[in-house]
Amino acid sequence: MNRFDYVRPASVAEAVAAGSEPGSAFLGAGTNLLDLMKVGVARPGRVIDVTRLPGLDRIEWLPDGGVRIGAMVRNSDLAYDERFSRSFPAVAEALLSGASAQLRNAATVGGNLMQHTRCAYFHDLASACNRRVPGSGCDALEGENRLHAVLGWSEHCIATHPSDFCVPLVALDAVVEVEGPHGAREIAIDRLHALPGATPEQETALAPGELIVALRLPADAAAFSRNARYLKLRERTSYAFAVVSAAAMLEVEGGTILRARVALGGVAAKPWRAPEAEAALEGAAPTAQAFAKAAGLALAEAQPSGDNAFKIELARRIVARALTLASEGTPAAMPALPASPFSTKIGANHVA
């Protein structure tokens, strides 16, 4: 790990001022940043510890029924917050399907949004990576790429965004509140993460010094609480990133889908909203045919970026499965294996 100066600002304004200096990085729990610093992928000259900033660790319910989540709220505290998980069950399920209990106890909301890809070539200093060193090339293109992107990738970068949390957030039109050197602004979460294009090193819409202070979910996002699921296919039962994942939420009345939300994870450099799938579901009956059609539309533009054509069919199936389970109703209790497609019965052993 490189040497750095450790700075603990007392206010958001101090943090933004310190973070605006070149070579600075904001430190939340450090579960991603320290990991990257240990292998030399991140080499900040100054680490700005924002974990003690006042007022950033609260879950606030807004008068209209929306919720404002401070950027330093820990993943587990949010997932187990009773009102939050009742209002936004797919978000809680996504949180609990991510990482391990230890990491969820530490990792912050802001840090989850700002985490980097787990592409092995991004993490390996001996490999070419346009995201890490612009213009150096992409060793993933001809490398081990079976878990790489099938949507929105470019010849410059085929990495995926690893967050589970962000998938239902993008489906629910979450908004990120940012403070920066030029004041406060809001960013729709769908515009926070960038597709690679020719500049994969530009991972987010944040400018230098800009700090995420909160995340907001609008009141109408809670309208899906009765029919909301997040499903995540992994290469092992637990504690793994998604091969593919999907958030599916429905508002159903009298046998008709009034509104639908669909987003995918593990398929692109950003959480992937599928508006065409949503539009096709709205007004339809919640049937297997409607779900299969929506799943097809969600992956209509998908292209393999390497040995990963199988992910396109898997993603179609996880979308259809998530929609099917959402239409059956949000489980009364969090499944024993959150987001697992193999967890068919609460309390059941999936291998039994």
Partner: protein
């Protein structure tokens, strides 16, 4: 650059002068305070061997900067037993053969203590397995670990229930 932090480690207040902000909580415990019960496995947050409690919550000490934990209360494996009396989780790991080589065991035990404090598993072995998935055991003692966690949880609940009854009777 020197940073001074105050911690309580296994109940003992301690002021620590850090000459280097790069020190993780794991390296502070092992290399500077010689509390080597906490193990370094992967040092990347992937194996759970370094699990300790910070303010009563289990975390990976390898991915926490010590400087960031000023004023925290840390509990390590050395802080569990009371004299010669083992903590219920330690006793249950022995009773159920919850280990073979033992390297991951301090992390498994601290993780189990954290899991029981969190209270989300109930008596469901599937939930215990899921909530212990951040602790990898190379010897694959998982069956014994799951049994030990469930038994220790019950022992702790029975003990606190008995104490409550004594208080109610008094």
């Amino acid at each position: 650059m020197s940073l001074s932090i105050s911690l309580a480690i296994n109940g003992q207040p301690l002021d620590v002068a850090l000459d280097d902000p790069r020190v993780t909580l794991l390296d502070l415990l092992r290399e500077r305070l010689f509390l080597t019960g906490t193990k370094k496995g992967c040092d990347r947050g992937q194996c759970g061997a370094c699990t300790v409690l910070v303010d009563g919550r289990r975390i990976n000490s390898c991915l926490a900067l010590a400087a960031s934990l000023d004023r925290a209360e840390i509990t390590t494996i050395e802080g569990l037993a009371e004299g010669e009396t083992l903590h219920p989780v330690q006793a249950a790991f022995i009773a159920h053969d919850g280990f073979q080589c033992g390297y991951c065991t301090p992390g498994q035990i601290m993780s189990a203590v954290g899991l029981i404090l969190e209270g989300h598993a109930g008596d469901d072995p599937e939930r215990v397995r899921e909530l212990m998935s951040g602790n990898i055991c190379r010897c694959a003692a998982y069956k014994g670990i799951t049994e030990a966690v469930l038994e220790a949880q019950k022992a702790i609940a029975d003990k606190s229930g008995a104490e409550q009854n004594r208080r109610d009777a008094a």
